[in-house]
């Protein structure tokens, strides 16, 4: 393989270092109108009246839209359509949109937005999922405040705990986390020359956006075109509709180009968050460390709208045991509506939260049993032939054991002096965190379609709907295509993430694009090759059976001098030859009562080791180094994989130690801290390539797995350093200091 496992230059990097790459906010038109959203300042209220008169008097205001101006369905949502684009009679969180201003200048739009007067009638707000699920609690949505309850029942939980010789039972909580992608949402909309309403914006899924915008406007699908702008990070925050429908509504009515750019404050206020989860976890094990039972109760806060709440509840439950074989499992996972900001998809869909719990439990079990934390994990680690909590038998590519083995080698090298004679206030510790992560959506169809063509001009064009959000899917998918086609990378033109040109690849989420679209590309190329052989047989007057394709050329089994480049076939045939491929991973629907089934076709695995230093006088934690060992299947582009891992660790440091979104208070990076260059540890990535037979050249995925084990490893390292465990994320200065003091008192 020449193109797989090598570091080729990332396609977009050149444009980006030149400052030439265009993000949503970089687009402009001369006669542009600027948009500004008027939002609710109440968490829960009826809208009695929206007074627009004063706002309309502001010079430069072109028009103000309300829900009454929406021609189609005024509800969006990836799973449940429960979120109005503009609210007519009710608001459910501080930030809920009510009106949309279009003006000739940003200043006019801003000024008018201050002058819209909304008269409310307050409704009792609910700020916790426990409150929301009380009998007779005020209803946030008509169907009730419980969004979902999902259960996993495997074996006999009572029997499992009877067999246990030790039981550890604890409660863990996590809070809201913001994606903090660096580019505030911004984009433009206009009618193109073919009469299509066109939107250029940051997104993780152009085809989803297209469906939502079309039904919102009541337009046929083909009259809406979504083009992905260069996207300044996403991490799940751009899976939901953000600015698309606002742009669509204004351009639809005004027939002029329109632009919207959110302020950072607005991004903090209105973009989805990571779900806060409360996790009650009970584990049972034999004296030798073998897990006998795991019982978990998860309660999450999805906020005002469903978004990905259902997905997070299910995915957290499915991954609740961690990468371990457990014979008896019972999980109840619920998600409730509240009047808090809405939570949605964020890198890992609930797995980073649940991993914090299962990895703390493993260390507590090891401590109780006086076992080595790595040994107890190895003893229980999934392997080929193991059965998961959903009774899926793993048949290949289960690299968790090897990641533990490799981390053990490192751990044995790390001589960790707990104390520093020079600095008596410092304690050092090391911690382990492991994880597993199912690639693709959970137990539901999530296909991707790819198309490739050779045209009579001798061009090779690959059409994929995949949104590259910076992680580098463009180059990875081109590598897969180029290897399979036998052509040079530079010979293939990539056309991507434009609904009018590319087929539907589904979302850039769930670490799925390398595996799923990679496979769709392989199928498209197989199909293309068949078509090329047919065409060549016709052109050359040879039997199809005598022809084959090798190294990008059509060859003849007997006539060894015959070798025609694939492109040449299309040129000579004077026609475009196309190949199309669809791939949908093999999963089954999970049983609605017991959660049993095959949620994913394959899983990624990882183990991190974190070395930390804790200042017991201030509570400050410094993560010194993280050894991050990942089984991603075959590595297609090492530098990209390593980039994901190092970036994931940094996000994990934030999740572990500092990131805490507080509704109503968090408005900027002044009070929402994300790791800077001075906060991140040295990261040593180790790649384990346990090839996945169903993956493209053996690949799986890495985007979310990169983040997941870091926080658990850091939290375990803090416990190792100070001898006291923290059960609430983030482990900020106050919590660490409190734990350190508790430890001193003992």
């Amino acid at each position: 393989m020449k193109k797989i496992g090598v570091n080729v230059l990332k396609l977009d990097a050149l444009e980006k270092v030149l400052g030439a790459s265009k993000y949503g906010g970089d687009y402009s038109f001369t006669d542009l109108l600027h948009l500004k959203v008027v939002r609710s300042n109440r968490p829960h209220a009826k809208i009695i009246k929206v007074e627009l008169e004063e706002a309309l008097k502001v010079k430069g205001v072109e028009r103000i839209f309300t829900a009454n101006d929406i021609p189609g369905r005024n509800l969006v949502g990836i799973i449940q359509k429960d979120q109005p684009v503009l609210n007519l009679d009710r608001v459910r969180y501080v930030g809920d949109p009510i009106a949309l201003i279009a003006a000739r200048s940003i200043e006019a739009a801003e000024e008018a937005s201050q002058k819209v007067n909304v008269i409310y009638e307050e409704l009792p707000p609910i700020f916790s999922p426990e409150e929301a699920l009380q009998p007779f609690a005020p209803l946030i949505h008509e169907k009730g405040n419980l969004l979902i309850e999902f259960n996993i029942i495997k074996g006999d939980i009572q029997k499992g705990f009877k067999e246990a010789e030790v039981i550890v039972e604890k409660t863990y909580t996590t809070t809201w986390v913001d994606h903090a992608y660096l580019e505030p949402d911004g984009g433009i909309a206009f009618w193109d020359e073919n009469g299509r309403l066109t939107i250029i914006c940051p997104t993780q899924n152009v085809h989803y956006d297209q469906r939502e915008v079309a039904s919102f406007l009541g337009l046929p699908l083909e009259e809406v075109r979504i083009i992905q702008a260069s996207t300044g990070g996403a991490f799940g925050g751009r899976l939901d509709i953000t600015i698309q429908c606002f742009l669509a509504l204004a351009a639809f009515h005004l027939k002029k180009p329109v632009k919207i750019v959110y302020s950072r404050e607005e991004v903090f206020q209105v973009i989805s968050k990571r779900h806060p989860l409360k996790i009650h976890y009970r584990s049972g094990a034999r004296e030798d460390g073998t897990l006998t039972a795991v019982e978990v109760d998860i309660l999450g806060d999805t906020g005002a709208y469903a978004s990905y709440g259902t997905t997070v509840a299910i995915r957290a439950a499915v991954h609740a045991t961690g990468p371990y074989e457990v014979p008896h499992v019972k999980v109840r996972s619920r998600m409730a509506y509240t009047n808090n900001p809405w939570s949605g998809a964020m890198r890992g869909f609930g797995v980073p939260q649940i991993a914090f719990a299962h990895e703390s439990q493993m260390d507590l079990l090891a401590q109780t049993l006086k076992m080595d934390p790595i040994e107890i994990r190895k003893k229980n680690a999934l392997r080929v032939g193991s059965e998961t909590a959903t009774s899926q038998t793993l048949i290949a590519s289960v690299g968790i054991g090897e990641t533990l083995e490799r981390i053990k080698e490192w751990r044995d090298k790390v001589s960790c002096l707990k104390e520093d004679p020079e600095r008596p206030y410092v304690r050092r510790g090391i911690g382990i965190g492991s994880m597993w992560y199912g690639i693709g959506n959970t137990g539901i169809a999530n296909p991707s379609t790819a198309r490739i063509e050779l045209n009579p001009r001798g061009e090779v064009k690959l059409y994929i709907g995949v949104a590259d959000i910076g992680q580098g899917s463009d180059i990875v998918l081109l590598q897969i295509a180029s290897e399979s086609l036998g052509t040079e990378l530079g010979e293939i033109q990539l056309i991507r993430a434009d609904t009018s040109l590319t087929p539907d690849a589904g979302a850039t989420s769930a670490s799925r694009q390398t595996y799923i679209t990679g496979n769709a590309i392989l199928r498209a190329i197989k199909n293309l090759k068949e078509e090329v052989i047919k065409e060549a047989s016709h052109l050359l007057n040879e039997n199809e059976g005598d022809l084959f394709i090798e190294d990008g050329e059509v060859k003849h089994r007997q006539k060894l001098c015959l070798a025609i480049p694939l492109q040449e076939v299309a040129i000579r045939a004077k026609k475009t030859i196309r190949g199309e491929g669809i791939f949908n991973p093999e999963t089954t629907r999970l049983d609605p009562d017991t959660g049993q089934g095959i949620p994913y076709a394959t899983y990624a695995f990882a183990t991190h080791l974190a070395e930390v230093e804790v200042d017991i006088d201030t509570g400050r934690v410094k993560v010194l180094r993280v050894i991050a060992c990942h089984d991603v299947g075959k590595v297609i582009h090492p530098k990209n994989v390593i980039g994901q891992i190092i970036g994931g660790v940094a996000m994990g440091v934030g999740f572990a130690l500092m990131e805490e979104y507080i509704p109503g208070q968090t408005v900027s990076f002044v009070n929402y801290l994300v790791p800077t260059s001075k906060d991140v540890p040295e990261v040593i990535p180790i790649l384990v390539e346990d090839n996945e037979p169903s993956g493209p050249f053996g690949a799986k995925g890495v985007g979310e797995p990169a983040l997941i084990p870091s926080a658990p490893a850091i939290l375990n390292a803090i416990a190792d350093a100070i001898g006291e465990r923290i059960y609430h994320l983030p482990a900020n200065l106050e919590r660490v200091l409190e734990a350190a003091q508790k430890s001193k008192q003992r």
């Binding site: 570091n7 230059l9 990332k10 977009d12 990097a13 050149l14 444009e15 980006k16 270092v17 030149l18 400052g19 030439a20 790459s21 265009k22 993000y23 906010g25 970089d26 402009s28 994606h179 903090a180 992608y181 660096l182 580019e183 505030p184 260069s230 996207t231 300044g232 990070g233 996403a234 991490f235 302020s263 950072r264 959000i469 910076g470 992680q471 580098g472 530098k639 990209n640 390593i642 980039g643 190092i646 970036g647 994931g648 660790v649 940094a650 996000m651 900027s668 990076f669 002044v670 994300v674 790791p675 800077t676 260059s677 001075k678 991140v680 040295e682 990261v683």
Partner: protein
Amino acid sequence: MEITLKFILNKKPVEVGVPPHWTLLRLLREKLGLTGTKEGCGIGECGACTVLLDGMPVNSCLILAPKVEGRRVETVEGLGSRESLHPLQKSFVENGAVQCGFCTPGMLMSAKALLEKNPKPTREEIKEAISGNLCRCTGYQQIMEAIEAVGK
């Protein structure tokens, strides 16, 4: 009301009319069409809008446009060209320092200011120099390696 400003932008003199309350960032992006400089927060917390003012890295969202009268401003567009990349640009591409790319222009300008002052910085000095530039994708390591590689 607009005032006329004269200053040196990417080594060339410019003369431009601008409302006096505009920031340098807005002037660059909206009047001069230089959208390479990004706005990530608008209050000087993220560093995405970093440009060099008389060789010093500044957050252009915090500098009022009239302040640059008679001074020297450098943006990412002045760094190198497609045909002839600046060594830092080349190194960022080669070292995997670019993911979403939104922090990249500001990061490059902070790095340039550092290397002009200190051609062979240590890892700690690099960390310090880019500590005002947030990056959410890369975890900074490959960025630091890219800067280090140019310094060597």
